[in-house]
Protein backbone atom coordinates (compact mmCIF):
# COMPACT_ATOMS: atom_id res chain seq x y z
CA UNK A 1 0.00 0.00 0.00
CA UNK A 2 2.68 2.43 -1.04
CA UNK A 3 0.01 4.80 -2.28
CA UNK A 4 -1.50 5.01 1.16
CA UNK A 5 1.89 5.58 2.77
CA UNK A 6 2.72 8.38 0.33
CA UNK A 7 -0.59 9.96 1.14
CA UNK A 8 0.07 9.77 4.90
CA UNK A 9 3.57 11.22 4.51
CA UNK A 10 2.21 14.14 2.47
CA UNK A 11 -0.27 14.88 5.25
CA UNK A 12 2.34 14.67 8.00
CA UNK A 13 4.72 16.94 6.12
CA UNK A 14 2.00 19.48 5.36
CA UNK A 15 0.86 19.62 8.98
CA UNK A 16 4.46 20.00 10.12
CA UNK A 17 5.06 22.98 7.81
CA UNK A 18 1.79 24.63 8.79
CA UNK A 19 2.64 24.12 12.49
CA UNK A 20 6.12 25.58 12.11
CA UNK A 21 4.71 28.64 10.34
CA UNK A 22 1.70 29.28 12.57
CA UNK A 23 2.83 28.08 16.00
CA UNK A 24 4.90 31.21 16.77
CA UNK A 25 1.88 33.37 15.95
CA UNK A 26 -0.27 31.23 18.23
CA UNK A 27 2.42 31.57 20.94
CA UNK A 28 2.25 35.33 20.62
CA UNK A 29 -1.53 35.23 21.01
CA UNK A 30 -1.16 32.93 24.01
CA UNK A 31 1.35 35.28 25.66
CA UNK A 32 -1.06 38.19 25.27
CA UNK A 33 -3.70 36.39 27.34
CA UNK A 34 -1.29 35.88 30.24
CA UNK A 35 -2.53 37.43 33.47
CA UNK A 36 0.94 38.10 34.84
CA UNK A 37 3.31 40.60 33.27
CA UNK A 38 6.10 38.18 32.29
CA UNK A 39 5.69 35.27 29.96
CA UNK A 40 6.22 31.78 31.31
CA UNK A 41 5.04 28.45 29.98
CA UNK A 42 2.71 26.87 30.87
CA UNK A 43 0.55 29.93 31.41
CA UNK A 44 -0.62 29.93 35.03
CA UNK A 45 -3.61 32.23 34.72
CA UNK A 46 -5.40 33.62 31.68
CA UNK A 47 -6.89 37.09 31.48
CA UNK A 48 -7.99 39.62 28.88
CA UNK A 49 -6.70 42.56 30.95
CA UNK A 50 -3.77 43.31 28.67
CA UNK A 51 -6.03 43.30 25.60
CA UNK A 52 -8.31 45.80 27.27
CA UNK A 53 -5.33 47.98 28.13
CA UNK A 54 -3.99 47.68 24.59
CA UNK A 55 -7.30 48.74 23.06
CA UNK A 56 -7.66 51.62 25.55
CA UNK A 57 -4.12 52.94 25.18
CA UNK A 58 -3.93 56.39 23.58
CA UNK A 59 -0.30 55.78 22.65
CA UNK A 60 -1.10 52.54 20.81
CA UNK A 61 -4.04 54.22 19.08
CA UNK A 62 -1.65 56.84 17.73
CA UNK A 63 0.84 54.22 16.61
CA UNK A 64 -1.82 52.19 14.80
CA UNK A 65 -3.02 55.40 13.11
CA UNK A 66 0.57 56.15 12.07
CA UNK A 67 0.99 52.69 10.60
CA UNK A 68 -2.33 52.92 8.72
CA UNK A 69 -1.58 56.42 7.43
CA UNK A 70 1.89 55.45 6.21
CA UNK A 71 0.63 52.22 4.63
CA UNK A 72 -2.26 54.01 2.88
CA UNK A 73 0.00 56.73 1.47
CA UNK A 74 2.54 54.12 0.37
CA UNK A 75 -0.28 52.15 -1.31
CA UNK A 76 -1.65 55.09 -3.27
CA UNK A 77 1.72 56.53 -4.29
CA UNK A 78 3.38 53.22 -5.11
CA UNK A 79 0.47 52.03 -7.25
CA UNK A 80 0.48 55.33 -9.17
CA UNK A 81 4.23 55.21 -9.75
CA UNK A 82 4.29 51.47 -10.40
CA UNK A 83 1.42 51.45 -12.92
CA UNK A 84 3.06 53.97 -15.21
CA UNK A 85 6.46 52.47 -14.45
CA UNK A 86 5.22 49.01 -15.41
CA UNK A 87 3.80 50.36 -18.69
CA UNK A 88 7.14 52.00 -19.48
CA UNK A 89 8.86 48.85 -18.33
CA UNK A 90 6.87 46.30 -20.27
CA UNK A 91 5.06 48.10 -23.08
CA UNK A 92 7.18 50.77 -24.70
CA UNK A 93 10.52 50.14 -26.27
CA UNK A 94 12.93 52.96 -25.54
CA UNK A 95 16.63 53.45 -25.21
CA UNK A 96 17.77 52.47 -21.73
CA UNK A 97 14.73 50.33 -21.01
CA UNK A 98 16.78 47.25 -20.12
CA UNK A 99 18.94 49.24 -17.73
CA UNK A 100 15.81 50.73 -16.14
CA UNK A 101 14.32 47.25 -15.74
CA UNK A 102 17.39 46.11 -13.81
CA UNK A 103 17.83 49.29 -11.79
CA UNK A 104 14.26 49.37 -10.57
CA UNK A 105 14.35 45.73 -9.45
CA UNK A 106 17.59 46.09 -7.52
CA UNK A 107 16.28 47.70 -4.26
CA UNK A 108 14.24 44.54 -3.57
CA UNK A 109 17.50 42.74 -2.88
CA UNK A 110 19.23 45.46 -0.84
CA UNK A 111 19.58 44.58 2.86
CA UNK A 112 16.86 46.77 4.33
CA UNK A 113 18.79 47.90 7.42
CA UNK A 114 21.55 49.15 5.13
CA UNK A 115 19.00 50.86 2.88
CA UNK A 116 17.38 52.46 5.93
CA UNK A 117 20.70 53.63 7.35
CA UNK A 118 21.74 55.02 3.97
CA UNK A 119 18.52 56.99 3.70
CA UNK A 120 18.83 58.28 7.26
CA UNK A 121 22.34 59.53 6.42
CA UNK A 122 21.00 61.03 3.22
CA UNK A 123 18.14 62.85 4.96
CA UNK A 124 20.39 64.32 7.63
CA UNK A 125 23.00 65.31 5.01
CA UNK A 126 20.46 67.46 3.17
CA UNK A 127 18.94 68.65 6.46
CA UNK A 128 15.56 66.91 6.36
CA UNK A 129 14.03 66.19 9.77
CA UNK A 130 12.97 62.50 9.81
CA UNK A 131 9.32 61.76 10.61
CA UNK A 132 6.50 59.53 9.35
CA UNK A 133 6.74 61.43 6.05
CA UNK A 134 10.35 60.40 5.46
CA UNK A 135 9.30 56.86 6.41
CA UNK A 136 6.73 56.96 3.59
CA UNK A 137 9.52 57.90 1.20
CA UNK A 138 11.75 55.11 2.51
CA UNK A 139 8.97 52.53 2.19
CA UNK A 140 8.33 53.67 -1.38
CA UNK A 141 11.95 53.00 -2.32
CA UNK A 142 11.46 49.39 -1.38
CA UNK A 143 7.77 48.86 -2.21
CA UNK A 144 7.61 50.52 -5.67
CA UNK A 145 9.91 47.90 -7.26
CA UNK A 146 7.81 45.06 -5.86
CA UNK A 147 4.53 46.61 -7.03
CA UNK A 148 6.06 47.46 -10.42
CA UNK A 149 6.97 43.81 -10.86
CA UNK A 150 3.46 42.65 -9.89
CA UNK A 151 1.77 45.07 -12.32
CA UNK A 152 4.35 44.47 -15.07
CA UNK A 153 3.37 40.79 -15.13
CA UNK A 154 -0.19 41.92 -15.90
CA UNK A 155 1.05 44.31 -18.61
CA UNK A 156 3.03 41.51 -20.28
CA UNK A 157 -0.14 39.45 -20.22
CA UNK A 158 -2.13 41.60 -22.63
CA UNK A 159 -1.84 42.15 -26.33
CA UNK A 160 -0.57 45.68 -27.16
CA UNK A 161 -2.69 45.64 -30.32
CA UNK A 162 -5.72 46.12 -28.03
CA UNK A 163 -4.55 49.68 -27.33
CA UNK A 164 -3.77 50.27 -31.00
CA UNK A 165 -7.22 49.00 -31.91
CA UNK A 166 -8.83 51.35 -29.39
CA UNK A 167 -7.03 54.35 -30.90
CA UNK A 168 -7.93 53.16 -34.38
CA UNK A 169 -11.58 53.07 -33.30
CA UNK A 170 -11.43 56.72 -32.30
CA UNK A 171 -10.16 56.78 -28.71
CA UNK A 172 -8.04 59.59 -27.33
CA UNK A 173 -5.06 58.58 -25.16
CA UNK A 174 -7.13 59.19 -22.05
CA UNK A 175 -10.03 57.10 -23.35
CA UNK A 176 -7.62 54.23 -24.12
CA UNK A 177 -6.40 54.36 -20.54
CA UNK A 178 -9.91 54.45 -19.11
CA UNK A 179 -11.59 51.97 -21.46
CA UNK A 180 -8.84 49.45 -22.16
CA UNK A 181 -5.55 49.75 -20.29
CA UNK A 182 -6.76 50.25 -16.71
CA UNK A 183 -9.60 47.69 -16.80
CA UNK A 184 -7.18 45.09 -18.14
CA UNK A 185 -4.50 46.00 -15.61
CA UNK A 186 -7.00 46.04 -12.76
CA UNK A 187 -6.21 42.56 -11.33
CA UNK A 188 -2.52 43.48 -11.23
CA UNK A 189 -3.22 46.88 -9.70
CA UNK A 190 -5.43 45.29 -7.05
CA UNK A 191 -2.79 42.74 -6.01
CA UNK A 192 -0.19 45.52 -6.17
CA UNK A 193 -2.27 47.56 -3.72
CA UNK A 194 -2.52 44.67 -1.27
CA UNK A 195 1.21 44.02 -1.56
CA UNK A 196 2.03 47.69 -1.01
CA UNK A 197 -0.18 48.04 2.05
CA UNK A 198 1.01 44.85 3.72
CA UNK A 199 4.70 45.37 2.98
CA UNK A 200 4.54 48.85 4.49
CA UNK A 201 2.35 47.72 7.41
CA UNK A 202 4.85 45.10 8.53
CA UNK A 203 8.08 46.91 7.69
CA UNK A 204 10.47 47.34 10.58
CA UNK A 205 14.04 48.13 9.41
CA UNK A 206 13.16 51.09 7.20
CA UNK A 207 10.78 52.59 9.78
CA UNK A 208 13.35 52.19 12.54
CA UNK A 209 15.86 54.36 10.71
CA UNK A 210 13.68 56.84 8.87
CA UNK A 211 10.54 57.51 10.95
CA UNK A 212 12.37 59.78 13.43
CA UNK A 213 10.35 60.44 16.57
CA UNK A 214 7.20 58.91 15.04
CA UNK A 215 6.55 55.27 15.75
CA UNK A 216 4.88 52.47 13.81
CA UNK A 217 3.58 49.14 15.08
CA UNK A 218 6.75 47.09 14.33
CA UNK A 219 8.94 49.88 15.68
CA UNK A 220 6.94 50.11 18.92
CA UNK A 221 6.99 46.31 19.38
CA UNK A 222 10.76 46.37 19.09
CA UNK A 223 11.20 49.29 21.48
CA UNK A 224 9.03 47.61 24.12
CA UNK A 225 10.88 44.33 23.76
CA UNK A 226 14.14 46.14 24.43
CA UNK A 227 12.78 47.96 27.45
CA UNK A 228 9.38 47.87 29.18
CA UNK A 229 7.85 44.54 28.06
CA UNK A 230 4.20 43.91 28.92
CA UNK A 231 1.74 41.42 27.35
CA UNK A 232 0.52 44.45 25.37
CA UNK A 233 3.43 43.68 22.99
CA UNK A 234 2.13 40.26 21.89
CA UNK A 235 -1.44 41.65 22.00
CA UNK A 236 -0.63 44.41 19.50
CA UNK A 237 1.47 41.95 17.47
CA UNK A 238 -1.48 39.57 17.25
CA UNK A 239 -3.77 42.46 16.36
CA UNK A 240 -1.44 43.56 13.54
CA UNK A 241 -1.27 40.00 12.18
CA UNK A 242 -5.06 39.58 12.32
CA UNK A 243 -5.49 42.94 10.59
CA UNK A 244 -3.17 41.85 7.77
CA UNK A 245 -4.97 38.50 7.45
CA UNK A 246 -8.37 40.21 7.35
CA UNK A 247 -7.18 42.62 4.65
CA UNK A 248 -5.83 39.75 2.52
CA UNK A 249 -9.05 37.81 2.92
CA UNK A 250 -11.22 40.80 1.96
CA UNK A 251 -8.91 41.63 -0.94
CA UNK A 252 -9.08 38.08 -2.23
CA UNK A 253 -12.87 37.99 -1.94
CA UNK A 254 -13.31 41.31 -3.74
CA UNK A 255 -11.02 40.08 -6.53
CA UNK A 256 -13.02 36.86 -6.81
CA UNK A 257 -16.35 38.70 -6.91
CA UNK A 258 -15.19 41.09 -9.62
CA UNK A 259 -13.94 38.16 -11.71
CA UNK A 260 -17.22 36.28 -11.22
CA UNK A 261 -19.24 39.29 -12.28
CA UNK A 262 -17.19 39.99 -15.42
CA UNK A 263 -17.28 36.30 -16.36
CA UNK A 264 -21.07 36.08 -16.30
Amino acid sequence: MTHRRTHALIWIWTLFVVAVVYLPIACGALASFNKSRYFGFPVKAYATDWWAKTLDSIEIGMIVRNSILIALLVTVLSVLIATFGALAFARYDWKGRRLYQKLIMLPIFFPQPVLGLAMLLGFSAVGIQTSWMTAVFAHLVWVVPVVTLVIAIQVYGFDPSLEEAAIDLGCSRLQVLREVTLPLLWPGIWSGMLFAFLLSWSNFPLSLYTAGADSTIPKWLYAKMVAGYTPMVPALGTLATLGAAALLLTGGLVGLMVRRRSAS
Binding site: F158, D159, S161, L162, E164, A165, A166, I167, D168, L169, G170, C171, S172, Q175, E179, V180, P183, L184, S262, A263
Partner: protein
Protein backbone atom coordinates in the same frame (compact mmCIF):
# COMPACT_ATOMS: atom_id res chain seq x y z
CA UNK B 1 -45.48 48.59 -60.73
CA UNK B 2 -44.04 50.02 -63.88
CA UNK B 3 -40.38 50.50 -64.10
CA UNK B 4 -39.60 53.29 -66.49
CA UNK B 5 -35.85 53.18 -66.25
CA UNK B 6 -33.46 50.29 -65.62
CA UNK B 7 -32.00 50.12 -62.11
CA UNK B 8 -28.86 52.15 -61.70
CA UNK B 9 -25.79 50.06 -62.34
CA UNK B 10 -22.80 51.08 -60.22
CA UNK B 11 -19.84 52.25 -62.24
CA UNK B 12 -17.21 49.53 -62.66
CA UNK B 13 -14.46 49.83 -60.05
CA UNK B 14 -11.90 50.67 -62.72
CA UNK B 15 -13.83 53.81 -63.69
CA UNK B 16 -14.11 55.25 -60.19
CA UNK B 17 -11.94 57.98 -58.80
CA UNK B 18 -9.08 57.19 -56.45
CA UNK B 19 -9.77 57.52 -52.72
CA UNK B 20 -6.29 56.74 -51.39
CA UNK B 21 -3.15 57.65 -53.28
CA UNK B 22 0.41 56.66 -52.47
CA UNK B 23 3.29 58.48 -54.11
CA UNK B 24 6.86 57.30 -53.56
CA UNK B 25 6.09 55.91 -50.11
CA UNK B 26 9.12 54.57 -48.25
CA UNK B 27 9.64 53.34 -44.72
CA UNK B 28 12.95 52.52 -43.08
CA UNK B 29 13.65 51.25 -39.59
CA UNK B 30 17.26 52.11 -38.84
CA UNK B 31 19.16 50.64 -41.77
CA UNK B 32 16.33 48.31 -42.82
CA UNK B 33 14.23 49.47 -45.76
CA UNK B 34 10.89 47.76 -45.21
CA UNK B 35 8.99 49.64 -47.92
CA UNK B 36 10.98 50.95 -50.85
CA UNK B 37 9.01 53.39 -52.96
CA UNK B 38 5.38 52.53 -53.57
CA UNK B 39 3.07 54.31 -55.99
CA UNK B 40 -0.51 53.16 -55.88
CA UNK B 41 -3.99 54.53 -56.52
CA UNK B 42 -6.73 52.83 -54.54
CA UNK B 43 -10.10 53.35 -56.19
CA UNK B 44 -13.20 54.20 -54.22
CA UNK B 45 -15.20 51.10 -53.36
CA UNK B 46 -12.73 48.52 -54.64
CA UNK B 47 -11.51 45.38 -52.92
CA UNK B 48 -7.75 45.56 -53.20
CA UNK B 49 -5.55 42.79 -51.85
CA UNK B 50 -1.85 43.20 -51.24
CA UNK B 51 -0.23 39.82 -51.34
CA UNK B 52 3.37 38.82 -50.76
CA UNK B 53 5.59 36.47 -48.79
CA UNK B 54 6.31 37.26 -45.14
CA UNK B 55 8.86 40.03 -44.81
CA UNK B 56 7.81 41.65 -48.07
CA UNK B 57 6.72 44.83 -46.25
CA UNK B 58 2.97 44.44 -46.65
CA UNK B 59 2.20 44.83 -42.93
CA UNK B 60 4.40 47.94 -42.74
CA UNK B 61 2.54 49.37 -45.73
CA UNK B 62 -0.81 48.68 -44.08
CA UNK B 63 0.29 50.26 -40.80
CA UNK B 64 1.20 53.43 -42.69
CA UNK B 65 -2.19 53.47 -44.41
CA UNK B 66 -3.93 53.01 -41.05
CA UNK B 67 -1.82 55.73 -39.43
CA UNK B 68 0.06 53.58 -36.93
CA UNK B 69 3.35 54.38 -38.64
CA UNK B 70 4.21 57.35 -40.78
CA UNK B 71 6.22 57.10 -43.99
CA UNK B 72 9.91 58.01 -43.97
CA UNK B 73 9.45 59.49 -47.43
CA UNK B 74 6.65 60.05 -49.91
CA UNK B 75 3.02 61.01 -49.52
CA UNK B 76 -0.22 59.30 -48.67
CA UNK B 77 -3.33 61.26 -49.60
CA UNK B 78 -6.97 60.57 -48.83
CA UNK B 79 -9.44 62.41 -51.10
CA UNK B 80 -6.45 64.46 -52.21
CA UNK B 81 -5.46 65.56 -48.71
CA UNK B 82 -2.10 64.58 -47.28
CA UNK B 83 -2.58 62.29 -44.27
CA UNK B 84 0.99 61.12 -43.62
CA UNK B 85 0.95 62.21 -39.98
CA UNK B 86 -2.78 62.08 -39.21
CA UNK B 87 -3.18 59.68 -36.23
CA UNK B 88 -5.45 56.63 -36.57
CA UNK B 89 -8.18 58.11 -34.35
CA UNK B 90 -8.50 61.08 -36.73
CA UNK B 91 -8.70 58.97 -39.92
CA UNK B 92 -11.93 57.66 -41.44
CA UNK B 93 -10.26 54.26 -41.72
CA UNK B 94 -10.32 51.16 -39.58
CA UNK B 95 -8.07 48.13 -39.30
CA UNK B 96 -9.12 44.57 -38.54
CA UNK B 97 -6.05 43.16 -36.79
CA UNK B 98 -4.52 39.77 -37.39
CA UNK B 99 -5.11 39.02 -33.70
CA UNK B 100 -8.54 40.72 -34.08
CA UNK B 101 -7.73 42.71 -30.89
CA UNK B 102 -11.15 42.15 -29.34
CA UNK B 103 -11.46 43.61 -25.84
CA UNK B 104 -11.52 40.57 -23.53
CA UNK B 105 -13.22 42.46 -20.68
CA UNK B 106 -16.19 43.50 -22.82
CA UNK B 107 -19.14 41.49 -24.10
CA UNK B 108 -19.85 40.92 -27.80
CA UNK B 109 -22.27 43.86 -27.82
CA UNK B 110 -19.90 46.16 -25.92
CA UNK B 111 -17.08 45.29 -28.31
CA UNK B 112 -19.20 46.09 -31.35
CA UNK B 113 -20.60 49.32 -29.87
CA UNK B 114 -17.17 50.46 -28.65
CA UNK B 115 -16.58 53.07 -31.39
CA UNK B 116 -20.04 54.51 -30.67
CA UNK B 117 -19.34 54.72 -26.93
CA UNK B 118 -16.13 56.60 -27.72
CA UNK B 119 -18.14 59.05 -29.83
CA UNK B 120 -20.57 59.59 -26.92
CA UNK B 121 -23.62 57.84 -28.38
CA UNK B 122 -26.13 56.95 -25.62
CA UNK B 123 -26.55 53.38 -24.40
CA UNK B 124 -29.93 52.66 -26.03
CA UNK B 125 -28.81 53.84 -29.48
CA UNK B 126 -25.57 51.90 -29.07
CA UNK B 127 -27.41 48.69 -28.37
CA UNK B 128 -29.78 49.18 -31.29
CA UNK B 129 -26.89 49.73 -33.70
CA UNK B 130 -24.93 46.79 -32.25
CA UNK B 131 -27.90 44.50 -32.91
CA UNK B 132 -28.22 45.82 -36.48
CA UNK B 133 -24.54 45.14 -37.13
CA UNK B 134 -24.80 41.70 -35.57
CA UNK B 135 -27.54 40.88 -38.05
CA UNK B 136 -25.33 42.09 -40.91
CA UNK B 137 -22.42 39.87 -39.90
CA UNK B 138 -24.82 36.98 -39.10
CA UNK B 139 -24.38 36.76 -35.35
CA UNK B 140 -27.47 35.69 -33.39
CA UNK B 141 -29.09 38.39 -31.25
CA UNK B 142 -28.61 36.29 -28.12
CA UNK B 143 -24.85 36.85 -28.43
CA UNK B 144 -25.19 40.51 -27.44
CA UNK B 145 -24.30 39.87 -23.79
CA UNK B 146 -22.01 36.91 -24.40
CA UNK B 147 -18.43 37.03 -23.15
CA UNK B 148 -16.38 37.61 -26.27
CA UNK B 149 -13.68 35.21 -25.09
CA UNK B 150 -16.24 32.42 -25.09
CA UNK B 151 -16.95 32.85 -28.81
CA UNK B 152 -15.49 30.52 -31.43
CA UNK B 153 -12.86 31.65 -33.94
CA UNK B 154 -15.40 32.34 -36.67
CA UNK B 155 -17.70 34.24 -34.30
CA UNK B 156 -14.81 36.40 -33.18
CA UNK B 157 -14.08 37.27 -36.80
CA UNK B 158 -17.64 38.47 -37.15
CA UNK B 159 -17.44 40.51 -33.93
CA UNK B 160 -14.23 42.19 -35.14
CA UNK B 161 -15.84 42.95 -38.49
CA UNK B 162 -19.00 44.37 -36.90
CA UNK B 163 -16.90 46.54 -34.57
CA UNK B 164 -14.96 47.93 -37.52
CA UNK B 165 -18.23 48.67 -39.34
CA UNK B 166 -19.60 50.43 -36.25
CA UNK B 167 -16.82 52.98 -36.67
CA UNK B 168 -18.34 53.61 -40.12
CA UNK B 169 -14.99 54.01 -41.90
CA UNK B 170 -14.58 54.93 -45.56
CA UNK B 171 -11.75 52.44 -45.92
CA UNK B 172 -11.41 49.13 -44.07
CA UNK B 173 -8.04 47.46 -43.71
CA UNK B 174 -7.57 43.78 -43.01
CA UNK B 175 -4.30 42.33 -41.74
CA UNK B 176 -4.57 38.60 -42.51
CA UNK B 177 -7.56 38.12 -40.21
CA UNK B 178 -8.32 34.68 -41.65
CA UNK B 179 -4.85 33.20 -41.24
CA UNK B 180 -5.69 31.22 -38.10
CA UNK B 181 -9.03 29.85 -39.31
CA UNK B 182 -9.56 26.28 -40.54
CA UNK B 183 -9.96 25.78 -44.27
CA UNK B 184 -13.69 25.23 -44.57
CA UNK B 185 -14.69 28.13 -42.34
CA UNK B 186 -12.16 30.30 -44.15
CA UNK B 187 -13.88 29.61 -47.47
CA UNK B 188 -17.24 30.63 -45.95
CA UNK B 189 -15.83 33.79 -44.38
CA UNK B 190 -14.07 34.77 -47.62
CA UNK B 191 -17.37 34.66 -49.46
CA UNK B 192 -19.17 36.55 -46.70
CA UNK B 193 -16.50 39.21 -46.69
CA UNK B 194 -16.89 39.62 -50.43
CA UNK B 195 -20.69 39.90 -50.04
CA UNK B 196 -20.21 42.43 -47.26
CA UNK B 197 -17.93 44.44 -49.49
CA UNK B 198 -20.59 44.57 -52.17
CA UNK B 199 -23.38 45.42 -49.70
CA UNK B 200 -21.51 48.20 -47.89
CA UNK B 201 -19.81 49.66 -50.97
CA UNK B 202 -16.82 50.61 -48.83
CA UNK B 203 -13.21 50.41 -49.93
CA UNK B 204 -11.50 47.26 -48.62
CA UNK B 205 -7.74 46.84 -48.49
CA UNK B 206 -6.76 43.35 -47.49
CA UNK B 207 -3.32 41.91 -46.95
CA UNK B 208 -2.44 38.25 -46.95
CA UNK B 209 0.32 35.86 -47.90
CA UNK B 210 -2.27 33.50 -49.36
CA UNK B 211 -2.84 34.05 -53.04
CA UNK B 212 -5.89 31.81 -52.92
CA UNK B 213 -7.59 34.26 -50.54
CA UNK B 214 -6.61 37.14 -52.78
CA UNK B 215 -7.93 35.47 -55.93
CA UNK B 216 -11.33 34.67 -54.40
CA UNK B 217 -12.13 38.10 -52.99
CA UNK B 218 -10.32 40.85 -54.81
CA UNK B 219 -11.15 43.29 -57.58
CA UNK B 220 -7.43 43.95 -57.87
CA UNK B 221 -4.33 42.33 -56.45
CA UNK B 222 -0.99 43.96 -55.74
CA UNK B 223 1.96 41.61 -55.44
CA UNK B 224 4.71 42.79 -53.09
CA UNK B 225 8.26 41.58 -52.91
CA UNK B 226 11.12 42.97 -50.82
CA UNK B 227 9.38 46.27 -50.10
CA UNK B 228 8.21 46.92 -53.67
CA UNK B 229 4.94 46.47 -55.50
CA UNK B 230 5.96 44.23 -58.36
CA UNK B 231 2.61 44.14 -60.14
CA UNK B 232 -0.91 45.46 -59.64
CA UNK B 233 -3.82 44.10 -61.63
CA UNK B 234 -7.02 42.09 -61.67
CA UNK B 235 -6.73 38.45 -60.55
CA UNK B 236 -6.90 37.43 -64.22
CA UNK B 237 -4.06 39.78 -65.16
CA UNK B 238 -1.88 38.61 -62.29
CA UNK B 239 -2.46 34.96 -63.12
CA UNK B 240 -2.50 35.21 -66.90
CA UNK B 241 0.12 37.88 -67.46
CA UNK B 242 2.61 38.00 -64.63
CA UNK B 243 5.36 40.55 -65.17
CA UNK B 244 8.20 38.40 -63.95
CA UNK B 245 9.16 34.96 -62.70
CA UNK B 246 8.58 35.93 -59.06
CA UNK B 247 4.94 36.87 -59.65
CA UNK B 248 4.51 33.97 -62.01
CA UNK B 249 5.77 31.38 -59.52
CA UNK B 250 4.08 33.09 -56.58
CA UNK B 251 0.66 32.81 -58.17
CA UNK B 252 0.79 29.14 -59.06
CA UNK B 253 2.72 26.19 -60.39
CA UNK B 254 4.47 26.63 -63.72
CA UNK B 255 6.61 24.84 -66.25
CA UNK B 256 9.46 26.96 -67.45
CA UNK B 257 11.89 26.33 -70.25
CA UNK B 258 14.88 28.56 -70.85
CA UNK B 259 15.44 29.40 -74.49
CA UNK B 260 18.11 31.21 -76.47
CA UNK B 261 18.03 32.76 -79.89
CA UNK B 262 20.17 31.22 -82.59
CA UNK B 263 21.89 32.95 -85.52
CA UNK B 264 18.89 32.25 -87.80
CA UNK B 265 16.52 34.11 -85.44
CA UNK B 266 14.77 30.91 -84.21
CA UNK B 267 14.67 29.89 -80.54
CA UNK B 268 16.15 26.74 -79.12
CA UNK B 269 15.96 25.26 -75.65
CA UNK B 270 18.81 25.63 -73.16
CA UNK B 271 17.70 23.15 -70.51
CA UNK B 272 15.48 21.04 -72.80
CA UNK B 273 16.74 20.25 -76.32
CA UNK B 274 14.64 21.30 -79.31
CA UNK B 275 13.39 24.27 -81.27
CA UNK B 276 10.49 26.24 -79.82
CA UNK B 277 7.99 28.73 -81.13
CA UNK B 278 8.00 31.67 -78.75
CA UNK B 279 5.20 34.17 -78.12
CA UNK B 280 6.44 37.77 -78.01
CA UNK B 281 6.45 39.10 -74.43
CA UNK B 282 3.29 41.00 -73.57
CA UNK B 283 3.39 44.72 -73.99
CA UNK B 284 6.49 44.80 -76.18
CA UNK B 285 6.72 44.93 -79.94
CA UNK B 286 8.29 41.92 -81.61
CA UNK B 287 10.41 39.87 -79.26
CA UNK B 288 11.55 42.85 -77.24
CA UNK B 289 15.14 42.48 -78.42
CA UNK B 290 15.83 39.50 -76.19
CA UNK B 291 18.50 36.88 -76.75
CA UNK B 292 17.55 34.70 -73.82
CA UNK B 293 14.14 34.17 -72.26
CA UNK B 294 11.91 31.83 -70.30
CA UNK B 295 8.87 30.22 -71.82
CA UNK B 296 6.32 29.72 -69.05
CA UNK B 297 3.43 27.29 -69.45
CA UNK B 298 0.87 26.75 -66.70
CA UNK B 299 0.11 23.04 -66.08
CA UNK B 300 -3.52 23.45 -67.15
CA UNK B 301 -2.46 24.84 -70.55
CA UNK B 302 -0.17 21.88 -71.24
CA UNK B 303 -1.90 19.32 -73.44
CA UNK B 304 -1.32 15.62 -73.95
CA UNK B 305 -1.35 15.17 -77.71
CA UNK B 306 -3.16 12.19 -79.18
CA UNK B 307 -2.22 10.65 -82.54
CA UNK B 308 -2.73 13.18 -85.31
CA UNK B 309 -3.10 16.15 -82.96
CA UNK B 310 -0.73 19.01 -83.50
CA UNK B 311 0.60 21.91 -81.46
CA UNK B 312 3.13 24.70 -81.97
CA UNK B 313 5.56 23.06 -79.57
CA UNK B 314 5.97 19.45 -78.46
CA UNK B 315 8.09 17.43 -76.05
CA UNK B 316 8.22 13.64 -75.49
CA UNK B 317 8.12 12.34 -71.93
CA UNK B 318 7.17 9.56 -69.53
CA UNK B 319 4.48 9.89 -66.88
CA UNK B 320 5.84 8.85 -63.48
CA UNK B 321 3.43 10.27 -60.93
CA UNK B 322 -0.16 11.33 -60.72
CA UNK B 323 -1.90 13.34 -58.01
CA UNK B 324 -5.58 13.76 -57.55
CA UNK B 325 -6.60 17.40 -56.99
CA UNK B 326 -10.27 16.51 -56.65
CA UNK B 327 -11.93 17.54 -59.89
CA UNK B 328 -8.55 17.62 -61.62
CA UNK B 329 -5.56 15.35 -61.90
CA UNK B 330 -1.97 16.49 -62.03
CA UNK B 331 0.70 14.42 -63.76
CA UNK B 332 4.42 14.70 -63.37
CA UNK B 333 6.12 13.92 -66.66
CA UNK B 334 9.84 13.31 -67.05
CA UNK B 335 11.38 14.72 -70.18
CA UNK B 336 14.96 14.38 -71.33
CA UNK B 337 16.98 17.46 -70.46
CA UNK B 338 20.01 18.82 -72.30
CA UNK B 339 23.14 16.93 -71.28
CA UNK B 340 21.26 13.67 -70.64
CA UNK B 341 19.55 14.52 -67.32
CA UNK B 342 15.83 14.74 -66.70
CA UNK B 343 13.42 17.61 -66.15
CA UNK B 344 9.96 17.34 -64.63
CA UNK B 345 6.99 18.97 -66.38
CA UNK B 346 3.55 19.36 -64.80
CA UNK B 347 0.34 18.66 -66.68
CA UNK B 348 -3.10 19.21 -65.21
CA UNK B 349 -6.12 17.57 -66.81
CA UNK B 350 -9.74 17.53 -65.80
CA UNK B 351 -10.80 14.18 -64.37
CA UNK B 352 -12.97 13.40 -67.39
CA UNK B 353 -9.87 13.52 -69.60
CA UNK B 354 -7.62 11.46 -67.32
CA UNK B 355 -4.88 9.47 -69.05
CA UNK B 356 -5.98 5.84 -69.29
CA UNK B 357 -2.55 4.28 -68.94
CA UNK B 358 -1.43 6.23 -65.88
CA UNK B 359 2.13 5.80 -64.67
CA UNK B 360 4.98 4.84 -67.03
CA UNK B 361 2.98 5.78 -70.13
CA UNK B 362 4.90 7.50 -72.90
CA UNK B 363 3.19 10.77 -73.81
CA UNK B 364 3.69 13.69 -76.12
CA UNK B 365 3.20 17.04 -74.42
CA UNK B 366 2.33 20.04 -76.48
CA UNK B 367 1.22 23.65 -76.28
CA UNK B 368 0.45 26.46 -78.66
CA UNK B 369 2.64 29.53 -78.44
CA UNK B 370 -0.22 31.90 -77.37
CA UNK B 371 -1.04 29.63 -74.38
CA UNK B 372 2.39 30.25 -72.92
CA UNK B 373 4.03 33.53 -72.00
CA UNK B 374 7.54 34.74 -72.32
CA UNK B 375 9.53 36.40 -69.56
CA UNK B 376 12.95 37.98 -69.62
CA UNK B 377 15.59 35.73 -68.13
Amino acid sequence: MLQTSPPAVPAPASARKPILQLVGVRKSFGGFHAVQGIDLDVREGEFLTIVGPSGSGKTTLLRMLAGMDSPSEGNITLHGERINDVPPNKRPTCLVFQSLALFPHKSVGENIAFPLKVKGVDAAARKARALELMAIVRLPETYHDKNVMKCSGGERQRVALARALAYDPEVLFFDEPLSAIDYKLKKTLEKELKDLHRETGKTFIYITHSLEEAMVMSDRIGVMRAGKLVQVGTPEEIYGAPVDRFVCEFVGEVNSIEVTRGADGGWSGVDVPGAFKVQPPRGSAGDGGMDRAFIVIRPEYMRVLGPGESADNRIEGVVYNEYSLGSRIQYQVRVTASGGGEKVMLVELSRSRALPAGADARVTLGWDAPDAFTLRS
